[in-house]
């Protein structure tokens, strides 16, 4: 198991956002997470990489638990266990004061995972892969949203992560720019990168992912293959959700 999540719970004050979430992800699997706004998708995803602290439950990456029954391991240990997880954000979160190259090489060079020369070579390769070889020295402010997100993906790939988490990677983009980002994600899928993608892109969920998780009110209501989810939704709230999405897409 690449990631094993066991009965995790999280509340913000009285608001119980995660009420016992359990699932596993195999190496190479691509999971789409869908569900209504406020159902806890982002909170769940952020918990997997230590951006949210859960109150209870366990999470293991590559067989190593960094939180066990709500008790976290020491910071150094957590840092080590999570060093092979990457994340891509809705708003890219590029460092605005650094060039594309610096954005990508800063962390691995600072952490001495590679020399500057190695990092720069890797940076070239990855930028070419996402189709931005010419943007090496560009500043983020000069890039379009789609280009920023592709740089963010390339940046997350610098340390050869075992798993990549995406939180609505195309939601902040103009519709005509989502395609270029989805294209890169498809390419990663073809290379069997393990990915968990919170998304409103039903096309991606349906045709690219291996499994679809439907979250509702802090629990996983459905966890099935996309064909099942889309062709025969077993759950009334899922049908309603898909119906709403469908209507919205048709309206656009």
């Amino acid at each position: 198991m690449m990631i094993q999540v066991n009965n995790i719970k999280k509340a913000f004050g009285d608001n119980r956002v995660l009420r016992g979430v359990t699932f596993g992800v195999e190496r190479g699997e691509i999971i789409s997470v869908i569900g209504p706004s406020g159902s806890g998708k982002s909170t769940m995803l952020r918990s997997l990489i230590g951006l949210e602290r859960i109150d209870d439950g366990s999470i293991a990456v590559n067989g190593e638990k960094f939180v066990d029954n709500g008790v976290y391991v020491k910071e150094r240990e957590m840092h080590r266990i999570l060093s092979h997880s990457g994340m891509v954000f809705q708003h890219f979160n590029l460092f605005p004061h650094m060039s594309v190259k610096k954005n990508m090489t800063c962390a691995p060079v600072t952490n001495r995972l590679m020399t500057r020369a190695e990092a720069e070579e890797k940076c070239h390769t990855l930028l070419a892969k996402v189709g931005l070889a010419d943007k090496l020295d560009a500043m983020p402010s000069s890039l379009s949203g789609g280009q920023k997100q592709r740089v963010a993906i390339a940046r997350a790939l610098m340390t050869n992560p075992d798993i990549l988490l995406f939180d609505e990677p195309t939601s902040a983009l103009d519709p005509e720019l989502t395609g270029e980002v989805l294209e890169v994600m498809k390419q990663l899928a073809a290379e069997h990168m393990t990915m968990i993608v919170v998304t409103h892109e039903m096309g991606f969920a349906r045709y690219i992912s291996d499994r679809v998780i439907f979250m509702d009110q802090g629990v996983i209501a459905v966890d099935e293959k996309p064909e099942e989810v889309f062709a025969h939704p077993s759950n009334a709230r899922l049908s309603a959700f898909l119906g709403a999405v469908h209507t919205k897409e048709a309206a656009n």
């Binding site: 230590g50 999570l82 060093s83 994340m87 954000f89 590029l94 340390t159």
Partner: protein, 240 residues
């Protein structure tokens, strides 16, 4: 000294307009005062900015101690914020007088110039602290999250991500504050230090002519103009 100059170079005159020779002499005498003004300025800038940064980190520090009764105390944060409140809550003039005339009562005796430096550095550090704190607050939380998921530790995040973005935001206010500092240096006259303002006043007295006021005004403006230029270059350089 002023008396001496008065006798030799400056015959007393009621005229508002002074001769070119007198003007040159005025500039010479005022530039003697400029020495104190400028050295105070640089000492304060070079000490109060780092001290302000230290106060900023203290004031953002999450270091907490839980007392036996269960209350949380944040010693560093409270110390820094209390200090800033004190410095911003009282006039600089009062602080200046307190350091020079008040501290001797608790056994700390400082010469005029060091006393002025201490008061100015402490006062300006408090203002810089607030500017830097605002700059840090303005940074998008997503920056910290990105740094964390990329595996950057806290220290590296501060140095490589937070400070550069903070500086960018802080530059205009820092510029403002340094302009204020140039003008505030005139306060040291009250301690009897022979700064630009002091020299101007005594010259006006001995000449019975107000022209030195105008000359001093021009000198202050030239200094401030130069500063603003330097800062606008800095601002351009840090734009991304």
């Amino acid at each position: 000294m002023v008396q001496y100059i008065d006798n030799i170079f400056y015959p007393k005159t009621e005229a508002v307009i002074i001769s070119p020779t007198q003007l040159i002499n005025t500039l010479k005498i005022l530039s003697q005062g400029l020495g104190i003004t400028i050295s105070l300025f640089f000492i304060v800038i070079f000490l109060s900015i780092p001290l302000g940064l230290v106060l900023t980190f203290m004031s953002n520090s999450k270091l907490g101690i839980r007392t036996r009764r269960g209350a949380e105390i944040y010693p560093l944060r409270w110390l820094a914020r209390g200090f800033v409140f004190l410095m911003r809550g009282t006039p600089l003039m009062l602080q200046l007088l307190f350091v020079y005339f008040g501290l001797p009562y608790i056994g700390i005796v400082l010469e005029r110039f060091p006393a002025a430096c201490v008061a100015f550095v402490l006062n300006y550090a408090a203002y810089f602290c607030e500017i830097f704190r605002g700059g840090i607050k303005s940074i998008d939380p997503g920056q910290y999250e990105a740094a964390q998921v990329l595996g950057l530790r806290k220290f590296a995040t501060t140095i490589k991500i937070v400070l550069p973005q903070m500086i960018r935001v802080a530059i205009p206010s820092v510029c403002n504050e340094t302009v204020n500092l140039i003008k505030d240096t005139a306060l040291v006259t009250t301690l009897g230090l022979a700064d630009l303002m002091h020299m101007t006043k005594s010259l006006v007295n001995s000449l019975a002519n107000v022209t030195p006021f105008a000359v001093a005004a021009v000198i202050y403006m030239v200094l401030i103009f130069g500063l603003s230029k330097i800062f606008s270059i800095l601002e351009k350089k840090t734009t991304y």
